[in-house]
């Protein structure tokens, strides 16, 4: 589904990704873990074409996207949904307008039909009846769920989650994890989750990869990840203070 080949990316002389390779298969939920600033979110922005790599190739559905122009990228993006770390809901719109945004922009559906789809998506994230509310009236967890409803409104093939549980209380975090699993089962989508919340990672992952010093240092199924003999990985998973990790 997504192939990342020899990706390099740096910001003002700081190299963030150094020749990273990663494959994401159709239908899996890949969780990417790593320390803050290791390039996890940058990787999501590269996959969506929001950033261009300094070097390397990214293939999405058999199409190399790093050289695509905006119009061609928009064609690819219609198959991708993304939940942002800050939810990134449009302040000036209601929940209904937020969730139905792509439908109103890219389809000729009537208002009534869009309202029905929005209601269905809001039901999937347990937010029935919130259509008329504005983002400022929502709690952090509700904002994430509206963001999720917006991400799935156009029936994407891939959903990208950028730190889905960051800033949420543990119970709301568990609810978001459950939603990610439910959506994966119900919609049969490919999911990429970026997080440093290990409970969330093991809760939703069908496969995991850890980025450290610009490259993937370990990947495998969650059970395998626990067994891999790598000090940095095991320290990250356990949160222990075994030795100083070089960022």
């Amino acid at each position: 589904m997504i192939q990342i080949r020899n990706i390099w990316k740096s910001f003002e002389n700081k190299e963030v990704l150094t020749g990273l390779d990663l494959d994401i298969s159709r239908g899996e939920t890949l969780v990417i873990i790593g320390r803050s600033g290791c390039g996890k979110s940058v990787l999501l922005k590269l996959i969506t074409g929001l950033m261009k790599p300094d070097q390397g190739e990214i293939w999405v559905n058999g199409e190399e996207i790093t050289q695509l122009k905006r119009k061609a990228l928009h064609h690819i993006r219609q198959k991708v949904g993304m939940l942002f770390q800050s939810s990134a809901l449009f302040d000036s719109m209601t929940v209904e307008e937020n969730v139905g945004f792509m439908l109103s922009q890219h389809t000729k559906l009537r208002k009534r039909e869009i309202e029905e789809i929005v209601a269905e998506k809001l039901h999937l994230v347990d937010l029935d009846g919130t259509q008329r509310l504005r983002p400022a009236e929502l709690s952090g967890g509700m904002r994430k769920r509206v963001g999720l409803a917006r991400a799935i409104a156009f029936n994407p093939e891939v959903i990208l989650y950028d730190e889905p549980t960051t800033g949420l209380d543990p119970i709301t975090g568990l609810e978001i994890n459950r939603l990610i699993r439910d959506l994966h089962t119900k919609l049969q989508v490919t999911s990429v989750v970026v997080t440093h919340d290990m409970d969330s990672a093991f809760s939703v992952a069908t496969r995991m990869a850890m980025i450290h010093q610009g490259d993937v240092i370990a990947h495998g199924f969650p059970d395998e990840i626990r067994q891999i003999d790598n000090a940095v990985l095991q320290q990250f998973i356990s949160g222990g203070n075994i030795q100083k990790i070089d960022a």
Binding site: K45, T48, L50, R70, H74, H75, R77, Q78, V80, G81, M82, F84, Q85, S86, A88, L89, F90, D91, F101, M102, Q105, H106, R150, F154
Partner: protein, 282 residues
Amino acid sequence: MNDLQPFQRQKLYDNRTIWIRFADGLGSHALNWTYGVGSATMLVWETLLLIFRRPLQFNLLVRQLLLIGVNSVPVVLFTGVFTGVVLATQGYHELKDLSAEGSIGGFVTTSVIKELGPMVTAFVLAGRIGASITAELGTMKVTEQIDALEIMATNPVKYLVVPRFLACAIMLPILTIFATVFGIAGGYFTAVSIFDMNGRFFMKQARNYLFIGSIIISLIKASAFGMAIASIGCYKGFTIPSAGGAEGVGKATTGSAVTSLMTILAMDALLNQLLYTVVGLK
């Protein structure tokens, strides 16, 4: 230089003479300025290309016309009236010294139509609308809303910049007409009620100095100022660093107003030269 260790590079950097530091700073500012002007020009070019591309999204344009135009009417009228009052008061005393106070009607009309109407309206909107556009788009940038637009396959320039650009280009001339009419009215009121001038004589003088060319110049300038205000406001909002936060939005908002005011003055000089000297309008 590349073979040096970081601490050696830092030492070299610290040991530079004041003149090298000055040249470095100057060069850096010049590069940043050139880059900014180039990027802003590219944004305007992209905006112009996208204006007629479907979907035209009239609903977004109407919303901006209301926000930018209708809501600015009271402040523009207020500024227009008092510009006329001040102009008539100043002009009366200056012209009286030359025994030409009778031409105050023509003086006020010409000044307000050709120069002060579009300038004052543009100044008011640069502060009111330009800064608000920067604050709105800047907040959208730092809260990832502009990235969200891109992810949802929507061009942010088409969705956010085009309606604001068109609304400013359309509303500035309309607001300028309001400011001009109320400016002349303010001048009339001052001349008649304070300096005991004959109202009919004032209006006759005003009509004598009212040329269609002057009105065209005024509207062309107003529209150009509107495009500049919208472009600068959008550009400043779009270029806030994602990690800039509230401080970045605040700085960009102030920068937007200041840049707009300076650009309006420079454009005014350029357009006057072009329209009066080159095209030959009166």
